[in-house]
Amino acid sequence: MIEYDSEEQRMVLKFVYYGPALSGKTTNLLRLHDLLAKEGRGDLMVLDTKDDRTIFFDLLPFFLVAPSGLKIKVKVYTVPGQVQHDATRKAVLQRADGVAFIADSRRSEAKNNAESFGNLERNLSIVGIDIDKLPLVIQYNKRDLPDILPEEEIRRAWGPTGFPVLLSSALEGWGVVETFRALAERAYDALDRRHDFGGTHGLTRESFAERLVRRAG
């Protein structure tokens, strides 16, 4: 969490879309931007300085107000997947409230997925986040492509970790909202334990998720 101001009744949460380069993190955010209603969210901010490659990430902000009056801003970031942008990844990952790991379903990308997940584990430890306590969901993207890992294989591999695994094609626009919703629900559970969202703020898990994933009419 970036900020919580009990006086001002404001809270800023951070979700991070992590994963190897070109696995579809930005496409996920672009799709969310298109699919979700304009109310309650800001515009997608794509930060890609063309000449200086130190910065390359996206930000999609959401805003909602709990029945208690608590204003909640949710900032959804993507990190640059390229190996050389590790400093940016660490900066973005700092104080994250939830992470969606976007993997590339193609068999040929299995090694890159594993390396990126290893990088996530290492960076979480560096920025002081316990991976076992962090709300984390896994998305296997690019299901529209040929030569992809079969679902059973993916479930067998990730089953023991207990992380929810979702399948998607960000390009075709399916599985994206479901992933975001799953992440929001996992994050809600963690926040509810710390800040009593349900009791003090009258914000149920359902309504929290519903307000974030309101579909465009």
């Binding site: 801003k73 430890s125 920025v127 002081g128």
Partner: protein
């Protein structure tokens, strides 16, 4: 800088700090826009923060905004960060509403663009600073390790010298042990050789002790008879009977044999001791002129017990000039080489010792008909601790000791093939040595 549970440095900065509308919209930009809007027909239009406090507006004379005044939100990251308000009393109409909406959208877009630029700058700065910090840290640790290596390099030479000295001392101890072990094995063989004659010498002496008692007994009787003055027939019969009961005739004949055998036994022991003395040159100090043929014979004579049954030892000696050397050391050398040869094969062993003079050098060859030494091991067998035997069966120092003795005498030792199979160890020793070759 705080550290995590594993002691790694943690990043303390975080991108995307929250900002108020005032932070992302400079007054210069907002005020100009509002002034233009005011002139365009939105008289008194102003921007208020979420608490209703006026941020920017056109002139102090305008009345404060009321609850019911037309207003449009200005959004920052989707959150209403303020409003644009047209105070009561201003002209109303469709145009004004449209202008108000346009103004709100424009300010939202300006805020968005400014925020994006600030975020870019902020992130860029943080990442660059962080990278710089990391580089500084890397530089610090590199400098530290360079310093460590510098110190190490300084002390390395001293350490190497110390360890080398330690190793030479340990090596010298091991070589000494090897020599002692070699002599120890010899001692065991010699002890066995001495034990045999000693056993029968002892046994003979016991028997002779009994014989001597009987002789003394009969002598005492004769003495008594003579002292009584007569040699009566009765006395003569008694003495004869007593002589017969003591079986003096038989033991008289045996005693001679026993004494002769005993003397032979002691002679054997004496010879063994003499051989050992000759082998070890224990009474000599430093160098002495020696005939190496004779020394080889001396070595062979103390090794008789070690020569395998059925082995043929062929001595092809040519006369050698007497050379000054430490004969005791040479015998140790011959002992080692002969012992190796004796172990070359179980049955049908043939060891040929050939001596001769070749130019200004004495050449001595010990040839066996065993398995020989493979070509690739020939340079290594003289190295310390090199052994082809099983662990515990040899330290690999025997030939190292040989090599040291020969080189100390200014000579060489090599291994060759025996024609027809086997190993031949060849020693070459200078007949005259320069003063610089004096034995250490």
């Amino acid at each position: 800088m705080p550290t995590d549970s594993e002691g790694r440095k943690r990043i303390v900065y975080c991108v995307g700090e929250e900002r108020a509308l005032r932070d992302v919209l400079p007054e210069s930009e907002a005020a100009a826009l509002l002034a233009a809007a005011s002139r365009a027909g939105l008289r008194g239009v102003r921007v208020v923060d979420p608490g209703g406090k006026a941020l920017w507006g056109s002139g102090n004379d305008a009345p404060p905004p009321g609850e019911g005044d037309p207003r449009r939100p200005i959004l920052l990251e989707g959150e209403p960060a303020g409003s644009i308000v047209l105070p009561a009393g201003a002209a109303r109409g469709e145009t004004q509403d449209a202008l108000l909406a346009l103004l709100a959208d424009t300010l939202t877009a300006m805020a968005h663009n400014n925020l994006k630029r600030m975020l870019t700058t902020e992130t860029h700065t943080e990442v660059v600073n962080r990278s710089y910090e990391e580089l500084l840290e890397t530089n610090r640790s590199l400098s530290a390790s360079e310093q460590r290596y510098r110190e190490l390099a300084g002390t390395l030479e001293i350490k190497v010298r110390e360890r080398t000295e330690e190793l030479s001392r340990a090596m010298a101890r091991l070589v000494q042990q090897e020599k002692m072990a070699s002599v120890g094995q010899l001692a065991a063989g010699v002890a066995h050789e001495i034990n045999n004659p000693l056993a029968f010498v002892t046994s003979n002496l016991r028997t002779l002790k009994k014989y001597t008692e009987r002789f003394l007994d009969i002598i005492a009787r004769y003495q008594r008879v003579f002292e009584q003055g007569g040699v009566a027939q009765q006395d003569r019969d008694d003495l004869r009977k007593h002589r017969e009961s003591l079986r003096l005739d038989a033991i008289s004949a045996d005693a001679g044999d026993l004494l002769r055998q005993t003397l032979e036994g002691t002679e054997r022991v004496r010879k063994i001791v003499a051989d050992l003395k000759g082998f070890s040159h224990i009474d000599e100090e430093g160098e002495a002129p020696a005939d190496l043929n004779r020394e080889i014979d001396r070595t062979l004579s103390v090794m008789t017990h070690e020569i395998p049954a059925g082995a043929a030892i062929v001595r092809e000696f040519s006369p050698l000039p007497v050379i000054p050397c430490r004969p005791g050391e040479f015998n140790q050398l011959f002992l080692g080489l002969l012992r190796n040869a004796f172990q070359a094969r179980q049955e049908g062993l043939r060891v040929t010792i050939r001596t001769g003079v070749s130019g200004d050098r004495i050449r001595i060859a010990f040839a066996d008909n065993g398995p020989g030494v493979p070509a690739d091991l020939r340079t290594r067998i003289f190295e310390p601790f090199f052994t082809t035997r099983d662990v515990g069966k040899g330290k690999g120092l025997g030939l190292t000791v040989a090599y040291d003795i020969v080189t100390a005498h200014g000579g060489t030792i090599d291994v060759e093939d025996t024609p027809g199979g086997g190993a031949t160890f060849v020693l070459q020793l200078p007949i005259r040595r320069g003063s610089h070759d004096q034995i250490r």
